[in-house]
Symmetry: C2
């Protein structure tokens, strides 16, 4: 019950299918806005500015860090990745919902800065399934596979910090659940309900 939009943070270990879920959700919900990350790494051949990432240079990124213009950021090898705050805040204030697909460390940083967000954790039906999904990507060495399993095991404990858990046995069902969560969150009673009470009481006097 608010005129503000929602920040929906979808996250989970890699290999849980959160990317596919978010893609389908964006196709299904036309007025949902996607938060695009900023990065200092160079665009790949199939990536475009502002679509996959907002590609900026290191100096610009460091200015954003210093000016507190990021909801979260991380340095991976030599590259920075982060979520610009302005876009998210502007859209939410306009009443638009914003989707943010992000890893667990990033989500936890966002939660510190924007606890009123809706934090959704995605898991596959089992760890066996997770392993299968990571392997089927085919692009990983055995070393990096083991690293991913290990980090998934550690990361799963962070589910406690989230609001919702979706077990992704079937993508369409998972998308429906995410849509239901957004719809329910819009009916949730928050402080803004005071406006509704006042409006109804005023009307009664007429």
């Amino acid at each position: 019950m608010t005129n503000k939009g929602l920040l929906i943070v979808v996250s989970g270990p890699s290999g849980t299918g959160k990317g596919t879920i978010c893609k389908q959700l964006l196709n299904a919900v036309s007025d949902l806005k996607l938060s695009v990350s900023a990065t200092t790494r160079a665009p790949r051949a199939d990536e475009s500015q502002g679509v996959n990432y907002s590609f900026i240079d290191k100096q610009q990124f460091e200015t954003m860090i210093n000016e507190h213009e990021l909801l979260e950021y991380a340095k991976v090898y030599d590259n920075f990745y982060g979520t610009p705050k302005k876009y998210v805040v502007d859209e939410i204030n306009k009443g638009n919902d914003v989707l943010l697909e992000i890893d667990i460390q990033g989500a936890l940083q966002v939660k510190e800065k924007y606890p009123e967000g809706v934090f959704v954790f995605i898991l596959p039906p089992s760890m066996k399934e997770l392993k299968k999904r990571i392997v089927s990507r085919g692009s990983e060495t055995e070393d990096s596979l083991n690293k991913r399993y290990k980090s998934a095991t550690e990361e799963i404990s962070f589910v406690r910090e989230y609001n919702y858990l979706i077990i992704n046995d079937e993508v369409d069902m998972a998308v429906e659940k995410l849509k239901a969560i957004i719809s329910a969150e819009k009916c949730k009673i928050t402080e803004d309900v005071e406006e509704v009470i006042t409006k109804f009481k005023e009307e009664m006097k007429c």
Copy 2:
């Protein structure tokens, strides 16, 4: 994230359309159980035992009060009305969701005894609309109409005690929202998430 069913309490001032919403929800969600109230009043010609009410005598009702077998009860004129606890608890423990359509005073009593329930408040789009809906029933005297308006005005403040508010501008949309709330509540992270964490960690060891 629980194996238990949900208790969904739908309530609001009279004339908000909560009865119609609940009827449609029960038709749409086949495995949803309806909590049937017990009463000491005599059945009307079109009412059947166990469908509209569980018709019991005063002595039985008083025993239920004394044995704490009711989630809530009220005395209206000379008749008792109440919600038997056993049915609700049994179904929830079996993993079935239970729907309880009830007035605001009743819902607040239920919340005290079962705070983990999902409390949904229904309102019409405006007080003007509420008046129109009450008048269109045609069965009320002016005196009882005024009483209903007055109690609706007082009752609206209790919305603060609920989890969700649905503005019933359009019945089908309101039913969809209620379905979304149920679906989202099933994804909500509760203490039971510890079981999921343990299960995944065990699987990782294999």
